[in-house]
Symmetry: C2
Subunit: 232 residues, 2 copies
């Protein structure tokens, strides 16, 4: 069923998009598929894909969209189904994939250091626990603007033994405050997209109070997500 859920979501997004072509492209690149490969899978000329993506047809038929989506998922499946599984985790947890950018449960617990390396993160505060068994990557802006309070709870709560990664952080004030309010707290919080100079002055103190590790990272987002997916 996860495949169907994801398919519906992609199809719905493309269908309602102001610019269906751009949305299609977004998903194709997200799945790491070239126009050529997609065209091959669909048994059409590669210019067809380009035409759609460039918006030459403003209202493609439903059939085209369906075929495109299925083809993308087919390709992913033939590669092992990594992307499908990744999105399935986020979706079945009930979140949008643009809010929760990744959500994983490792087969076994790993040292926090391993995560730091994958993210090229610098630790500022060392918490009580130094192993984690999963991580959640949250777009902090989207989360703060779009989540309801119950959803926050669902997202931040039940996060023991995990690391929460916040992307698009400017100072780190809101994520840290949220961690104070919520219970239980994660083992580690990693702020992404800022340098140590930008960090909110009270951040380390708050982390210390609740006993979780705090780190920051400023690596390229896409690359970082890519590496996180490969983790254990």
């Amino acid at each position: 069923m996860p495949r169907e859920d994801l398919a519906r979501r992609i199809a719905g997004e493309i269908t309602l998009s102001d610019d269906p072509g751009a949305t299609l492209r977004k998903w194709r690149t997200d799945f790491d598929v070239s126009q050529t490969a997609l065209a091959e899978q669909l048994d059409v000329s590669s210019s067809v894909i380009s035409d759609y993506e460039s918006g030459r047809r403003e209202s493609p038929g439903i059939g085209v969209v369906r075929r495109m989506v299925e083809a993308l998922l087919d390709i992913d499946e033939s590669r092992g189904g990594g992307r499908i599984r990744q999105y399935a985790r986020v979706i079945s947890a009930g979140f949008e994939s643009d809010i929760v950018q990744d959500l994983r449960e490792y087969p076994t617990s790993i040292p926090l250091e391993t995560l730091y390396e994958a993210m090229d993160a610098t630790e500022l505060v060392r918490g009580d626990q130094d192993r984690i068994s999963g991580h959640t990557v949250i777009n902090s802006i989207e989360a703060i603007t779009r989540l309801s309070s119950e959803e926050f709870y669902r997202l931040y709560g039940q996060s023991t033994s995990r690391a929460l990664v916040f992307t698009g952080v400017t100072r780190g004030e809101s994520p840290l405050v949220a961690m104070r309010v919520v219970n239980p707290t994660p083992n580690a919080v990693i702020l992404h997209g800022l340098t140590e100079d930008d960090l909110w002055e009270h951040a380390p103190a708050l982390a210390t109070i609740d006993g979780f590790s705090l780190a920051i990272s400023n690596r390229d987002l896409e690359e970082m997500l890519e590496d996180l997916r490969r983790l254990p």
Copy 2:
């Protein structure tokens, strides 16, 4: 945002459907909108709608689908937005609307009897609490076959002061067992779609142990859901 989420979901379902026309019809009737009214909203002839629903065009353009969906939602909004809110509740809780058929939080708590009346239910066991402040209607078959264990937890847990209604029940064994396992338990469980004779023999005993009310109902499903929506 709930409107957009719902719109995407409907659009996705139509786009990927084997029979887009039938799916469109399903949603239109679900929103209680006549072909004529939809056509009027879209400023087209009513035969257009009929043609689409009957499948005369096998691959309608994305634009058509978008306009249809938006029109349905516009109509609902002009009527107060009841359906949108209803689905929004289910969706933002992270479930599919065919698994969770309704999910409500009343503005104020109501006596259990009020719910019984709306469902034409017969109480078999009287629990410790006789008021509820919300209800969740769950398709028991879909739930058992499609939900993961975490999702179960999300659905059944955090259900204090609520009534859980299970539809499509044959004997009531699995819902009652699930209630034993989960914590906290709801104030009431109502099994729908069976008669007292069909009931699993141990059901009343289990309800008594956990102190929740148990009732059964065998009314027509659609009518019942309709009345539940109107509740307080």
